[in-house]
Amino acid sequence: MSAIFLVGVLNLYSSTHADTHDGLDALYKSQIVWFLLSVTVAIAISFINPKTIERFAYFGYIGTLFLVLLVLLMGKVGMGAQRWLVIGPIRMQPSEFMKLGLVLALARYFTKVYPEKQLGFKDLIIPGLIMGIPTVMVVVQPDLGTGLLLLFIFCMMIFYKRLKWKTIMTLGVIGLVSGVLMYNFGLREYQKKRIHTFIDPYEDAKGSGYNAIQSEIAIGSGRLFGKGFKNSSQASLNYLPENHTDFVFAIFNEEHGFFGSVFLIILYLVFFMRLIWLASSVQRFFDSVLIIGIMSIFFWHSFINMAMVSGLLPIVGIPLPLMSYGGSSMLTFGVGVGIATSVSNSRNFFN
């Protein structure tokens, strides 16, 4: 796992370095600081016994929920949404931590209540609330991306917790209907615009479709072998907005081409497979659900980010784990990896 982690460092280095020659030195350095901090946190957490984590799972959930609530009341507005919490010199994005809180709470809940039972409708009420409360709060910020992520993480976890196939079907239909209703009544104008743009980005190439098109151009122009390290024209000439955060994957593709992306995706895939394998080989059920949850966080982030950048999904602001700039999300992944390592270590101890 540490090997994969090292490659992660390399990826991070490569991608953030692409930004440095456009006056983003400060960001680059701060990203390294965040990264080291995350590694430290991960190592620290890896020494904690999973049992301790289990004991404090609900505290983690309630703590992050509190932070999200705090943001709602007094957050800093950034990029059209209120997401930041500023405490002294530290700017936090609690909605990032909320994902961990949710995973912890659900893992604990599923372990204690009917751990062996296949889940039906009635069994979803309380987990639904655990997921629903923070989701609503995050969406209200408004941060639809994180809200959806919480939902997706929840879905993957209940799927793991043997949700009945019949229930899955019914939920699918309900989801579809409510999705349509949501679109018509629940979405803000800029969110709707993103969906329109997704369907036909060229309709408004200079306006709302701009990001999608420029991102596709960046990826496509990498062709098989890429333009080479630090040679991204789309990024260095600022054609892509936020190229150090959400669109970092596009820059990576532009510089390293299709082979580069295959390599990167395989890395992620190996990482996820390793986590799934870990989840299936631990002795304690809580650890297993927890690992699946953490894996979900990573997976959804990676997948949604890659899919949106390459034009498979509409553009929503979701960072790519370990590659995008952003302290809070980096820290979240640090904690996640730390927990995974802790679980992995505990397994070795018992063996």
């Binding site: 420029q214 062709r223 299709f258 497979m273 799934i276 002795q283």
Partner: protein, 654 residues
């Protein structure tokens, strides 16, 4: 109940399913990447290059214009404008503050300019300051990175060295307007674009296709905000994309002499009118000046509203060219052609004397001589010298208008000379047929009398007059006047050269005709009784004819009213046409001074100034010899005054 490990085991099925889902999801991403990077890779790669490259026009340097003596008349000088593109402004306040500091103005001033242009699209640049200094230019360029939205527009300004002098001849360039675009495209079969510069007047218009050259283009790397990047760092990406160097326009050498232009311009100081001088033996135009004038440099970068108002508001119409684009009644200068017609048709010879008692009655109308009481018995030479109306009217009365017209036309009057400048007017020599066509009426005998002294329908331009007098001097050779001597390419290779073009030879049967007409013209200037004697100049041996072109026909009681006492708009135009030196003619000049009242006082000095400049510069030996002759004339005149004591010199009039 299950044990912990069994719990994990019964969930293993789902874990496997999850791993399938994940693999499938990444498979989709990979497929998409394959599609983008491999299948559409080339296309998108080209997009990315287009994205970062902006094709910028590199203006071809327009050809330069030189005078016949190789003095530079029209030059291209780079000027720089500070421009601002609102779309690319990041931090408006900060940027404006920095810019204001560089340009040493205040933010409010810049904001006022922006506000004035706020109705245009945000991506269109606004000129903040025209013609910035090199220092300002350097500051903006070096701070480029800190000034998003600010850039410098390089502008090649067309600069006319002598500004107003000869502006009508040189013309000007300006941007093709929306209205002109389709017409010009049709006319030249060229895909002009809006904003292209094109010659719109004079030489600039006439020789536009030579002067213009061909614009090139270059690709510059720009970022998403349109800022130029200094380096193109990945050269391998730009294979097959090449800049195209502009092709410089051709340089032009005119037949015009710069010093004569300056002399002519000075001589027209305070006057409204024009002068044109041609080489008698080639038709080369040596000088061509019209006043009031304008500064063509102002046009090449877009006129300021103030300057435009000053041009349009001027009642003397500075944009009008008085030499080839306007015509007027030639007045008494036309008598030279009446004389030639009468002589050739056998109506008169050098001895024919006609009595002038001041009036001539034809039917119910009474025609007056300008001299109250008349000239007495006059022959041809005297009639020309003293510009006796009655002599020519009595002669013309015996003739057919078409016979007079035949000679006038043969000398090139009443039709375009074919000078290589745009919008030449044709003038008019009336005939019976013309009148029938124009008015549906028969020719009146009285009209012939008016025509014979150059009034009424007859209209000529100074260029026609100069060419026709040149023909009188050179024995009837009509040359096509031309203003361009040579065209060179930018390397100095001769591309095209223009040689004299003899259009026709006037058929003069009687060898005495031109001899005596010339004698008359000589005496106009050099005989103490001649109408232009007091303006004859020194060292030029000029022959010529004064004239007044009636603007409004005066009623009988006002015929002898002093012209200066009339309303400005009713005053006669003063005209003079002449050639020099008399015994070896080189140069002919024609002058019109609008509302100048007299040909002698208003127009003659202009011709004298231009011809004097010519003689000094090009015929210095002849000039010195002529000075001697002038001295003799002067001495004999003084002697004659002393002999005839109570002599009252003729008031210089016609």
């Amino acid at each position: 109940m299950f044990g912990e490990e069994e719990l994990v085991k019964i969930h293993k099925e789902r874990a496997t399913l999850i791993s399938y889902i994940i693999t499938a999801a990444f498979g989709m991403v990979l497929a998409r990447l394959w599609y983008l990077q491999v299948y559409k890779g080339e296309t998108l790669h080209n997009y990315s290059i287009q994205n970062r490259l902006r094709k910028e026009v590199v203006w071809a340097p327009r050809g330069l214009i030189y005078s016949r003596d190789d003095q530079l008349l029209v030059d291209n000088i780079p000027r720089f404008d500070a421009i601002l593109t609102p779309q690319f402004l990041l931090d408006k306040e900060e940027t404006l503050a920095k810019l204001a500091k560089i340009l040493s103005t205040d933010v409010a001033g810049i904001e006022a300019i922006m506000k004035k242009n706020s109705n245009q699209a945000r991506y269109r640049p606004i000129i903040i300051k025209k013609n910035i200094t090199f220092e300002e230019l350097a500051q903006i360029e070096t701070q480029n990175a800190d000034l998003p939205g600010i850039s410098v527009d390089t502008f090649i300004s067309r600069e006319y060295r002598d500004k107003d002098i000869g502006a009508h001849l040189l013309g000007y360039i300006s941007e093709i307007s929306q209205v002109q675009l389709p017409k010009l495209r049709e006319r030249d079969k060229t895909e002009y674009r809006l904003g292209d510069f094109i010659g719109q007047f004079g030489i600039e218009e006439q020789l536009d296709k030579y002067l213009r050259g061909e614009n090139g283009h270059e690709f510059v790397e720009v970022d998403a905000r349109g800022r130029r990047k200094r380096y193109i760092n990945t050269d391998n990406l730009f294979k097959g994309i090449e800049d195209e160097k502009p092709l410089s326009g051709m340089n032009v050498k005119l037949t015009i002499d710069r010093d004569m232009q300056i002399a002519a311009y000075k001589a027209l100081e305070g006057k409204v009118g024009g002068v044109i001088a041609v080489d008698i033996n080639s038709g080369e135009v040596l000088s061509m000046v019209s006043r009031p004038s304008f500064d063509p440099s102002q046009f090449s970068r877009g006129l300021t509203p103030e300057y435009w108002r000053s041009l349009v508001g001027n009642t003397h119409h500075p944009l009008r060219d008085r030499n080839i684009q306007e015509h007027f009644s030639p007045g008494s200068t036309f008598k030279a052609f009446s004389a030639i017609a009468a002589f050739e048709e056998g109506q008169i010879d050098e001895h024919t004397e006609i009595n002038c008692n001041g009036t001539f009655r034809l039917g119910r109308r009474v025609y007056h001589c300008w001299k109250k009481g008349g000239h007495g018995a006059v022959n041809l030479v005297r009639a020309l010298r003293e510009s006796c109306n009655i002599y020519f009217q009595k002669t013309a009365n015996k003739m057919d208008i078409d016979d007079i017209a035949k000679y006038a036309k043969a000398f090139g009057l009443g039709s375009r000379t074919g000078i290589s400048l745009p919008r030449e007017v044709s003038g008019l020599i009336p005939t019976k047929e013309w009148k029938k066509k124009r008015f549906g009426q028969e020719w009146q005998a009285g009209e012939t009398l008016s025509i014979s002294i150059g009034q009424s329908y007859v209209l000529t331009s100074t260029i026609q007059m100069a060419i026709s007098f040149a023909a009188i001097a050179n024995g009837g050779k009509i040359y096509r006047p031309y203003v361009v001597k040579d065209i060179f390419d930018s390397e100095g290779e001769l591309v095209k050269t223009f040689t004299p073009e003899l259009l026709s030879q006037v058929d003069i049967k009687n060898p005495k005709t031109l001899k005596f007409v010339r004698e008359g013209l000589f005496q106009v200037v050099n005989n103490p009784k001649g109408t232009a004697f007091y303006r004859r100049g020194q060292g030029i041996m000029m022959a010529g004819k004064t004239g007044t072109s009636q603007v409004k026909s005066a009623s009988a009681d006002k015929i002898y009213q002093r012209c200066e006492n009339m309303d400005y708009d009713s005053r006669h135009h003063g005209v003079f046409v002449g050639f020099a030196p008399y015994d070896n003619p080189k140069i002919a000049a024609a002058v019109i001074v609008e509302h100048g009242c007299h040909g002698s006082s208003a127009a003659t000095p202009v011709a004298e100034a231009v011809i004097t400049e010519y003689m000094k510069k090009y015929q210095p030996e002849m000039y010195l010899k002529n000075l001697e002759k002038d001295k003799e004339i002067r001495e004999s005149w003084i002697k004659s005054i002393r002999a005839a004591k109570p002599a009252t010199p003729a008031t210089a009039d016609e």
